[in-house]
Subunit: 341 residues, 2 copies
Amino acid sequence: MQTKHDKPTIDQVARKASVSKTTISRYLNGRYEFMSEETRKRIQTVIEELEYRPNNLARSLKSNHSGLIGVVVADISSPFASILVKGIGDQCTASGYHTIIANTDNDPVKEKEYIEALIDNRVEGLILNITGHNNEFIIELGAEGVPIVLADRAMSELYFDTVTSNNYQMTYQTIEYLIRAGFKEISFFTEEIGVVSSRRIRMQAFLDACKQHFQHDCEEWIRVCSFSDLNDVQTSLLDFLGTDKGPHAVFAVNGVMMLSLAQAITNLNLVMPRDLGLCGYDDWGWTSLVPPGITVISQPSYQVGVEAAKRLLGRIQQKKNMRAKVIELASSLIIRGSTKL
Amino acid sequence: MQTKHDKPTIDQVARKASVSKTTISRYLNGRYEFMSEETRKRIQTVIEELEYRPNNLARSLKSNHSGLIGVVVADISSPFASILVKGIGDQCTASGYHTIIANTDNDPVKEKEYIEALIDNRVEGLILNITGHNNEFIIELGAEGVPIVLADRAMSELYFDTVTSNNYQMTYQTIEYLIRAGFKEISFFTEEIGVVSSRRIRMQAFLDACKQHFQHDCEEWIRVCSFSDLNDVQTSLLDFLGTDKGPHAVFAVNGVMMLSLAQAITNLNLVMPRDLGLCGYDDWGWTSLVPPGITVISQPSYQVGVEAAKRLLGRIQQKKNMRAKVIELASSLIIRGSTKL
DNA sequence: TTGTACGCGTTATCAG
DNA sequence: CTGATAACGCGTACAA
């Protein structure tokens, strides 16, 4: 009695409508140019009766067109990624594509496995938020003809279209703002930089801006600590504040670090901007609520997703060999009380 | 020259290894029980040389086993959903399944389209965070044999396994806590309730708890406003505080409303708990940072995802007709300064 | 231990 | 205007 559940095939429709599969197939693909009004009606009726829907697996297999886009992100639970994914999804949907999303947890092994699995399922293209540890593999994939766009995190050379925000410029500009605002010592709080381009670029911008304005290397102002270890963050913070000059400011490399810093500051009963200034990435909605409001850089995550998808779909549709290109979208600096001396 | 990019098929492998497809197929599926050590080695070599990977579309088509799970959420950009999705993904991955994620933006039309598309791609099961406006359709799908699990939002009758947090109990308990803490007027701030079960249940718990303790209906304490319209929230808040009794407390139906309320409170220069108490759903990381700390209910979103996936995979694997069941996971109440009179 | 031949549900090429 | 038939890439009885 489980045949009741089996989905009807094009054959059954054909039989019931007393025509051949071919005709049904034509109908399905809108090629009713050479079809009598009558058969057309009949087919329509039968399809509705049977609630027939074509099997996309078979269709994809035959046509080499799955209508699927693979998306691989490092951490879907971060607001940056989830909003990015939303942008990608909206754009893909608008073009009749669907997205398969995979989450790597920043694990290169998972990353490779997922990408392979996506390819195995014949996605037509990939949007990647890379860990940075599978670059050769990914480059080879690209060479084999798989359309690929990088989102947020770039490779050191331009192999693929890359959509990011203007990390360097924005960070540089923010550090300059801090200096103009009167801060004399500025610390850059980051988690392990590794090979993640956005972190690396932000750090470089920090170093360059400091060197430009303070006339000396400022590497000792970089604090690498684990955002998941609040004690670590607190210790680093106190250590930095312990230097005597001041006024001190702290820059957060990303939203997670920003949260840790805000927690540390709260725990230590420090008052902004009296005891220290705080600013950095990202604006995840709550930064205006922590008195006196935290100065933040707001990234256009949604737009990054949209542009990445647009670029990928463009590449998929016109098989031309467009040159790889970097698309940098502008973030915005939102100045609040935490950095107003 | 583009043949270079074409992926090798099982036939090519077979030819190159001088055996038949069958043998390759056996090799791929680990059935080397009847295979000479030698052919096995040879096949392995050829596969590596050609970098052959089986086409999952063909495989799925033939075997009726796609290894894909469809996930449909109302808003992927919300922390609740993105963490839920992470839990689902982790669990599915652990069982060798992949997830296709679709985002409905709470739009019933999109919801139906996506579900159909997922079915067309032969996902083996669905995890749904429903809008509530396609219930008949979904129920029919279930009747046709598609394994379905609901996450977070339930239907009014128990058609499917449903994984949620203990909304009623937790909300009731929180309202009781507020009353014990000394609040005399409690407002329930929500966006349009519609057919979303979690909102409805929380509201009911609020009403029941108030009635129980204040001995009268408290519907006038419910404020429906649009979280995207901050003015609306501020006006409603002032309106509520305008009543003379006090002390006043406000309960947020979800994390988005909580954020709006916190913003409204900041904008209006209100001080907690002096001017009002604030608590509710959700704990999205920042609530401890707004002085004096906001009392929140923390949902086990990740665990909801994990359990939903477990349940679905169980259903897929053992084709038995398990009875539909509700799995309620416990949230936790985190008491902070905002409600300590 | 290995191979032949057919089918999964579609689409495309031809012929009628 | 319509219908056989082959093919997409793989898995599996059945045969050898």
